[in-house]
Amino acid sequence: MNIAAAANENMAQLSNYLVYSALAVYTLAFLAHIAEWAFGSRSRIAKQSAALTAQEQEAKASAAAPAVTVRAAGGTATLERPKVVTRNRGRDVADGLGAAGEDEKGELLGRIAISLTTLAFLIHLAGVVTRGLSVERAPWANMYEFSTTFSMVAVGVYLGLLAAGKKVRWIGLFLITTVLLDLGLALTVLYTESDQLVPALQSPWLIVHVACAIICGASFYVGAVSSLAYLVRDSYESRLEAGRTMRLSTVWRRLPSAATLDKLAYRVNAIVFPLWTFTIIAGAIWAEAAWGRYWGWDPKETWSFITWVVYAAYLHARATAGWKGRKAAYLALIAFACWIFNYYGVNMFVTGSLHSYAGVE
């Protein structure tokens, strides 16, 4: 018994070392991303205005190109596959080139940043797993564990998208910054020694309910960053159209187009919304078993409901004339702010929640 306990404590200690190491490697990745953005802007400052117009021209041309490419099979007129002509509504602007722009050094640094992120993610993953092993349960039962697992899942989703060939590298710097903040907060303010669960938390629903909440949070985060980037890029594009420039335009120029960002934000939020609904319902089922009622307007429940309603409003807004675009994006940001408040705010500022197992005084 004592030997087992000692092993567990060693495991918990190991987990802490791993999380600290991950934090260090993430910091290196962060610096590499910063350098990537810096080099990416360097090469083109001189020819910026010329490039802008060129880019616009390029954008028009590429948007007019067919979505399905045509391959001629030997003969001049025989098509192997009919050519599909697409028509887009609204602005036709191509995606930016990404953080590195056309700079080779920037590109190299970007690749280094991704490698470092992958390394940090593996260390981070090991840290979470050892934490789970040390307590012999799912490693997300208090705010420290939730935060470390949360940022790990967010990075995992990002790396998964990159591996699937999606063009999301531009998110890297935002993501790593957030991960650093999240881990820093977890290790300082939220830190809790590894330990067993109070009886109310001993339920299989802990795994289902909280794991879903983590996945939703990580995805909503990606949606929120996209919405934010959309808002900036959208103003950049409309100013460009009006022939004006914008501060830091060398940064905005390298982002994906507003249409792409808007679509990404919508897809992520729409895909995760049913899962968020399920998270709340799973929580209600658990509450029914643990507390004798499935819904009691506990602050955590209230805020998850508010988050749900605002995301529902966002999805509806996109179908409503006059609410599309920027207004809908603001709603998405408000919804994510509600999610964040539900996670941090309710535990730290609102007293009397039944969800006060967080280990934070």
Partner: protein
């Protein structure tokens, strides 16, 4: 045409649709009362108002999470009212202490649901109509569609169309043909899912309402060895919904055989609870006795009720002898915990006491029980160091006089009203107080009697709840997720194929696709369909565009 006319189906859809008005009523002064009602109804059921109501609902829910609520914590509400002289009564007036049953909160969600119903009903009819009709015929100018492909072939037009129907049918499109073209549509489950989701929300609301109206909820403290039978007199505390019939209580009962609490013995969270379990024997009306374990997350489910384990504590078992030496009281006295280490406070009330000289009187004992005594704290007095019974100590002081239990005024059984009582004192006049371990006896002065601390039983509190409609709400919730997934993940799209003889023995094949929701990958899909069709009707070099009478110059530019 299909792209410009908005049907109600688009209005409530969660995916973007084409820009169109949402059916604003006809403004102007010539509206009669019926006209105004119509206008109001249209406003209420419009998407924009639904959006505003959704936003209002989330705003209205906020204060309930910040201001203490009567439903969950009446003590905090009282405390808030005491501390805020102006704000307290104001909050009380506007229902701030019971936000979720206040008029304004109810108004928002009732309006929202009326708006919802006003949306669903016409949409359901419309959807039925769509299902009964064939897909809308091909628009005249297919090249105006978001994705479009065109080629010439030697295959005759009717063969091309037959092949198109076959290909589309195999891909599970619903098809319909009109002269010279095939129209196909797929993804109807999107709208079905959307309707299911919105109807499921109403089902959930009905489930919640039923739960509120027919619910009953009571708590009962049971000491080990004691029992509980499900009727009103047995509850310590009981509340029920407006439509609950209290005569319906009954049907089961149970005895608490043993309560076990396990606590963390080491580490930084020493003293944290690790496991609570109550071993009980229960019976159902007309049934045998059965054994069961009730623990956190595992309530007892019996006769339509659920019994949850909600609290626990210790009950010192004492024997009180009166002035005559007779047993005046024997039994457990539940002490109520005041902190996480179960430092508890309680009283022993003896109503049938006979003094040394034969006079009738009453006795009262009050004090503190600590399960693990490690010395008294200078600031906080007697404090327990651990929640388990490691070194139990009972610290009591005694009174005699009128307990006030016969006064007819409701009294707290866990508190002593010593207004009309006199405290026993030592020979030197200091109040009598004694610290006892199990087996110890406290002698009252002048042969007035004694109290013996026999042993300690544990007690547990149970919350007994019945809430009809829970299954309905759960069914609604599951249907809502299913419907939501359908409405967000299934894409509705249309494909058209037109085959026109060009007057030179060849056939011009035109195909186009239109996604009716945002994420539809119509271009890829049309590419696949066109490729399949192309296999059956291969392209040949096309005639000069001038030879086609209905060719649009725009089209040629795009195809160049």
């Amino acid at each position: 045409m299909s792209t410009t006319k908005t049907d109600a189906a688009e209005v409530m859809s969660s995916a973007p649709a084409d820009d169109t008005g949402t059916g604003e009523g006809p403004g102007g002064p010539q509206l009669g009362p019926v006209g105004w009602l119509r206008w109001l109804w249209r406003q209420l059921t419009s998407m924009r108002v639904a959006l505003v109501l959704l936003f209002l609902l989330s705003l209205a829910a906020v204060p309930g999470s910040l201001v203490p609520q009567e439903g969950s914590d009446p003590v905090k509400v009282q405390d808030f009212v005491d501390r805020h002289e102006t704000l307290g009564p104001l909050y009380e007036k506007i229902g701030m202490f019971h936000v979720y049953s206040s008029t304004w909160f109810s108004a928002v969600y009732i309006l929202l649901f009326v708006s919802l119903i006003g949306c669903i009903v016409p949409r359901t009819w419309q959807f039925v109509g769509v299902l009964r009709a064939r897909p809308p015929a091909a628009p005249r100018r297919l090249e105006r569609m978001p994705a479009h492909a065109r080629w010439s072939t030697d295959a005759p037009a009717d063969e091309v169309l037959a092949a198109a129907r076959r290909i589309l049918g195999r891909r599970r499109f619903r098809t319909g043909a009109s002269d010279g073209s095939v129209a196909a549509e797929k993804g109807y489950l999107r709208e079905a899912g959307n309707l299911v989701f919105h109807i499921a929300l109403i089902v959930m609301l009905v489930g919640f309402a039923a739960g509120q109206l027919y619910m009953s909820e009571g708590t009962k403290l049971v000491v080990e060895g004691d029992g509980f039978a499900n009727n009103l007199t047995q509850y310590d505390d009981f509340k029920d919904g407006n439509l609950f019939d209290r005569d319906d209580l009954g049907g089961f009962g149970f005895t608490l055989d043993e309560f076990t609490g396990t606590y963390e013995r080491s580490g930084p969270q020493r003293g944290s609870a690790r496991d609570f379990r109550a071993d009980i024997t229960y019976w159902e009306a007309g049934g045998e006795e059965k054994k069961a374990v009730v623990s956190s997350n595992h309530p007892l489910e019996v006769a339509g009720y659920k019994a949850y384990l909600t609290g626990h504590g210790y009950a010192p078992v004492v024997t009180v002898r009166d002035g005559q030496g007779d047993v005046a009281y024997r039994g457990p006295a539940p002490f109520l915990p005041m902190d996480g280490n179960v430092t508890s406070q309680g009283v022993v009330k003896v109503t049938d006491y006979v003094g040394k000289d034969g006079e009738r009187d009453q006795l009262g004992f009050s004090g503190i029980f600590v399960p693990t005594f490690e010395g008294a704290s200078a600031t906080r007095g007697m404090v327990s160091a651990f929640p388990a019974l490691d070194n139990p100590v009972l610290f009591l002081t005694a009174y005699r006089g009128d307990l006030g239990v016969d006064s007819g005024i409701a009294q707290n059984v866990y508190q002593l009203d010593n207004e009309r009582m006199e405290q026993f004192t030592d020979a030197d006049g200091t109040p009598l107080a004694q610290m006892m371990k199990p087996g110890d006896t406290m002698e009252l002065p002048d042969g007035a009697g004694s109290l013996t601390f026999e042993r300690i039983d544990e007690w547990a509190t149970f919350q007994v709840t019945s809430k009809p409609g829970t299954d309905l709400a759960l069914a609604g919730a599951i249907a809502a997720i299913a419907g939501l997934s359908g409405s967000l993940f299934i894409q509705r799209r249309r494909v058209w194929v037109r085959a026109t003889p060009d007057g030179h023995g060849r056939t011009v094949v035109e195909t186009a696709a239109l996604g009716r929701s945002e994420s539809a990958r119509v271009a890829e899909e049309l590419g696949d369909i066109a490729a399949l069709l192309h296999n059956e009707a291969p392209a040949v070099p096309e005639q000069q565009p001038e030879q086609r009478p209905d060719t649009d110059p725009d089209t040629d530019k795009e195809r160049a």
